[in-house]
Symmetry: C2
Subunit: 313 residues, 2 copies
DNA sequence: ATTTTTGCATCACAAAATACTATCAAAATG
DNA sequence: CATTTTGATAGTATTTTGTGATGCAAAAAT
């Protein structure tokens, strides 16, 4: 039994297809077929049920795949340990970022980071929280930036900053006169929300559920970008909530429509998250310190109340 | 990097000698030398400092060895998973037992066990607790039977039974008249103890320290067997304490000198212990159930007070 | 101080394992 | 029914792993 064989098993288990798995492993399909047969023979069991289409894991195969993941992860960490010892910070690093953080945070730290760690090849992907969790677990991402806490056993979190929610109230709205607003001023049914799947949407639903129930009446528009929501609000279609960093690059005329919450301000917790396997910890730590550096200047710590980003059932 | 290479690294790390390590791996020394060189080259580091005699691990080498242990352990478990699935209970199994449990417990369950699981080749070794802990951690033992709790992070314990201490009081002793005795009746300085290194000795010291301090006066004889202690006690040299199972095969004349403690009786906790890696769990569980079966008849559960087997500093 | 022993490295070569190309057979697709 | 997809197999090339013989330096023994 070799580590290579286990990697082949994992590839087939993931793609449910020998040919595709072989490609991903950069070998030909017969090579992979034979190695899979060899390990099955050595263990004297069948890992895959080839009679089903697409290919299925047998019961014992599932157990072996789980264990193989452990082994391959632990083996990968050896190279990690060596690099860490050498103080080498480089190589490919796959980072996921949720859409509501991406446009504001990424420009703030990306330049700093690539200058400081030129040997790291950052591969950044915009994904929503659910997709991120899956990809962290199956190893397609090394780390991600998302709203937390996620309460996921297999994922670790390092809090980067707390980002208050800011209300955007169009001029004609009744709350426009107030200097600061409270959660109770908000009517969930007139808040313009992002599409389903954005955790920022879920966070706001959690925030507002506290007082009133959601009435499924009237209209509800959901958009994928805050810019749309702002324009809709300006058209008199309701109010909206923005994460603090988003408010910084509004036009001055729009900034006048922003209203802070009274303390403790509702806020989201933004964290760097990564799988428990803790691969590439040097780079994760490099990211953390770079982001901490740039965010410290932008976000003044205030008395905040953290809103869960999770969808409550 | 292959699992085989990691095993070679572990063998050299353990024996600090290429030639010996090669033997243990059942390959020639050049094979092992070359594979070690290959993995060092692949990682581009030195794992061993060959200039020192005996060979030393480099700093990074130590870290790699730690990780290699993980990997090899996890890899071993794959075969374990397969056997478990197949319901196969067999193969070599190395069991350590402490000297004060060996002569009484082993005859009680060994016959049952080998009849029930004829494919298991039990390799039993008499070792004291310290030796057992080392050998469990480095993989030279699969499990052991010892007094617990050990409070060791890396070792798991399954309690088998509680074995009360019984006092052996010679006829002319002042406590001989009492039907039941108490801890306060014991004078640590007149109790005959086993040699240093036996945890039964440490347990008794813990028991008696509660009341009085140990005076380092007079005489203290330490023996390696209870039989010696009994004879010395008969000669009027003091009293001694025996574990309950040991009292069962005394001569009737000697049994008259036994005195039980008042409840809660001081007792030792005897457990099946094994490393966290949890290899060969099927056999460990087979042992547990076999021993539980035979002990249930012999030891009536009573109100006991567990004495720690650990040497307090 | 010389010899012997110990212990790892190196060389040349054998055996085994791994991978590739080409091809086949079965199942799924149209 | 022809076509495509997908995994297995055969034969061969390449790479890896292993062996025995030997070298060489340092430590141990005489």
């Amino acid at each position: 039994m070799t580590i290579t064989q286990l990697q082949y098993v994992l590839a087939v288990a993931e793609h449910k297809n020998f040919t595709l798995a072989a490609e991903k492993c950069f070998v030909t399909q017969p090579t992979l077929s034979m190695q899979i047969q060899k390990i099955e023979e050595e263990l004297n069991i069948l890992i895959f049920d080839r009679s089903k289409k697409p290919i299925q894991l047998t019961d014992i195969g599932q157990k072996i795949v789980n264990q193989a993941k452990n082994i391959v992860n632990e083996a990968d960490r050896i190279k990690d340990i060596v690099e860490q010892q050498k103080g080498f910070i480089g190589g490919e690093f796959r980072l996921g970022i949720i859409p509501t953080i991406m446009p504001t945070l990424l420009p703030m730290f990306l330049n700093n980071f690539i200058k400081k760690y030129p040997k790291v090849k950052l591969l950044i992907e915009e994904l929503n929280t659910d997709e991120i969790i899956v990809k962290l677990k199956n190893g397609h991402l090394n780390a991600a930036i998302a709203a937390t806490p996620l309460e996921d056993e297999k994922i670790k979190e390092i809090v980067l900053y707390f980002e208050p929610f800011v209300a955007y109230i169009p001029e004609h709205h009744s709350s426009f006169q107030k200097e600061e607003i409270e959660v109770s001023d908000l009517n969930i049914n007139e808040i313009l929300l992002l599409q389903d799947g954005h955790c920022f949407r879920d966070g706001i639903l959690n925030l507002c559920k506290n007082g009133t129930d959601i009435e499924q009446n009237n209209f509800q528009i959901q958009s994928g970008s805050f810019e749309t929501l702002i324009k809709l609000a300006d058209e008199g279609l309701g109010t909206t909530l923005l994460p603090y960093l988003h408010t910084m690059d509004l036009k001055d005329s729009d900034k006048l429509k922003l209203r802070n919450f009274k303390e403790p301000k509702p806020a989201r917790e933004v964290s760097l998250i990564y799988p428990k396997s803790e691969l590439k910890m040097q780079i994760i730590d490099a990211l953390r310190s770079t982001i901490a550096g740039v965010v410290k200047g932008a976000i003044v710590f205030q008395n905040v109340q953290i809103i869960s980003p999770l969808q409550k059932k």
